[in-house]
């Protein structure tokens, strides 16, 4: 195991430990609410999925000697994205009729986020077409989530109504951006092995995953 591979291994372990911690915190916070807070329940699901993805990846490394390119571990990541999509829809459902009306004008600008995601994914597929199924599996929920995250962020940031959760939507957008670059360097590294930019993105992904919980906590407590 060379230095970068060891760093990658450690990043997965640290990511798993942090995901477990934030997952438990999210669940605990959700239970503390009178009728249960759906957002924090969904966030605990998201963190559980991140944790399971890390565990699966590390286990295939240990048990099978190398990680699978397409596996149920990837499905866990897709599950995590789906939990965030559910949370975004849930937050949009809480808008007042006035906010909903104001949100309509941000529908079109919000399409910029999925456009960027699609461009990145086309780049991945062009660079490494052998694992197109993997890219498509990741691309669909990423595109959907990016649209909702930007739409909700724009509505809360630019609109005249409540702004509580805009920091949460911003955290999700930053996390998605880091993930896009992580996937890009991961794709570029398929033939050349581990590289410093990939490792930086890997650690940034771990860091930004944690910020989603704090952003939600700050928004909910505002």
């Amino acid at each position: 195991m060379d230095t970068l591979e060891t760093l990658d291994f450690i990043s997965y372990i640290v990511g798993g430990v942090l995901a477990a911690a934030w997952g438990i915190l999210s669940f605990w916070r959700a239970r503390g609410e009178k009728d249960g807070s759906l957002l924090f329940y969904l966030l605990s699901g998201f963190y559980a999925c991140v944790l399971m993805c890390d565990i699966y990846y590390l286990l295939t490394w240990v048990v099978e000697d190398y990680p699978f390119v397409l596996s149920p571990g990837d499905l866990s990541w897709v599950g995590g994205l789906s939990f965030l999509i559910t949370a975004a829809l849930g937050l949009a459902d809480q808008w007042t009729p006035g906010q909903r009306e104001a949100a309509k004008k941000y529908r079109l600008p919000a399409l910029a986020a999925p456009a960027v995601c699609i461009a990145f994914n086309i780049a991945y597929i062009t660079i490494y077409p052998e694992i197109i199924v993997n890219y498509l599996l990741y691309a669909v929920p990423t595109v959907i989530l990016s649209y909702f995250a930007l739409w909700l962020f724009l509505t809360e940031h630019m609109g005249s109504a409540r702004h509580n959760m805009r920091i949460y939507h911003l955290a999700v957008l930053i996390w998605l951006t880091v993930q896009l670059f992580y996937d890009l360097f991961s794709t570029l590294g398929m033939d050349y092995g581990y590289a410093v930019p990939f490792e930086i993105c890997s650690w940034l992904l771990t860091l930004t995953t944690a910020t989603i919980y704090f952003a939600a906590k700050k928004g909910a407590g505002a």
Partner: protein
């Protein structure tokens, strides 16, 4: 050679007759338990077909064992979820979704345990005990997580669809992680046997099911 259909008939017929005689929640439990048995029978056939398809297509140069390890958890979890989805379409009470999901999971685990005990012999009590507390409990844990999660967003309109998909992904991965542990040797295998026990313990500890009203806290 094990004839799974014969095992299914032996297990399911008395339950279905009992379900015809009973009413209310007991009947519902027996029906979903039987559906769990059926789900296990069907997934046994679908698993091998799908794994062979993946293996023959040379997908990511997997061995047949690896192909089975990839396909089995996803297929089994989908099969266990289908009866619960159909039940949800009928507009049941929130608590009944959890009970139905658990019944399907328990039915599935029962059928699988019977199958393995017949195939590998019933002389080894330790094997039977380990299997009950590991693979059997894994199905129950997955069913509990799925039922609880579905109940959480039940009645929240469009939230239910992405949440159901997310739960399906999560339970499939949990199942796949158990399978990976169980396929390993030594301490990893023991860790795999302990994993469902710990998760079931955590579920029991946190077993406060969601209330009638759930809301996304904003302010």
């Amino acid at each position: 050679m094990i004839y799974l259909e014969d095992i299914f008939v032996c297990l399911a017929v008395p339950l279905i007759i009992a379900a015809c005689l009973l009413k209310g929640e007991t009947r519902r439990f027996l029906v979903f338990f039987s559906l769990g048995l059926l789900a296990c029978l069907l997934s046994a056939h679908i698993n091998s077909t799908l794994a062979a398809a993946v293996f023959n297509n040379g997908c990511a140069s997997l061995t047949m064992r690896q192909a089975m390890a990839q396909v089995t958890p996803i297929c089994e979890e989908v099969m266990k979820t289908l009866p619960v989805f159909f039940f949800m379409a009928r507009g049941p009470k929130r608590e009944n979704i959890i009970a139905a999901s658990l019944a399907v999971g328990l039915g599935f685990a029962t059928f699988e345990n019977c199958w393995y005990i017949i195939e590998y012999g019933s002389a080894d009590f330790l094997y039977a005990l380990t299997r009950s507390f590991s693979a059997g409990l894994t199905h129950a844990v997955c069913a509990a997580i799925l039922g609880w999660g579905l109940a959480l967003t039940y009645g929240c309109g469009r939230l239910a669809v992405p949440c159901a998909f997310a739960l399906l992904c999560a339970t499939s991965t949990f199942h796949a992680i158990y399978n990976l542990f169980a396929a390993a040797d030594g301490a990893w295998r023991i860790a795999g046997y302990i994993l469902p026990v710990i998760t079931a313990g955590a579920i029991l500890f946190f077993s406060k099911w969601p209330g009638k009203e759930t809301d996304v806290k904003q302010e």
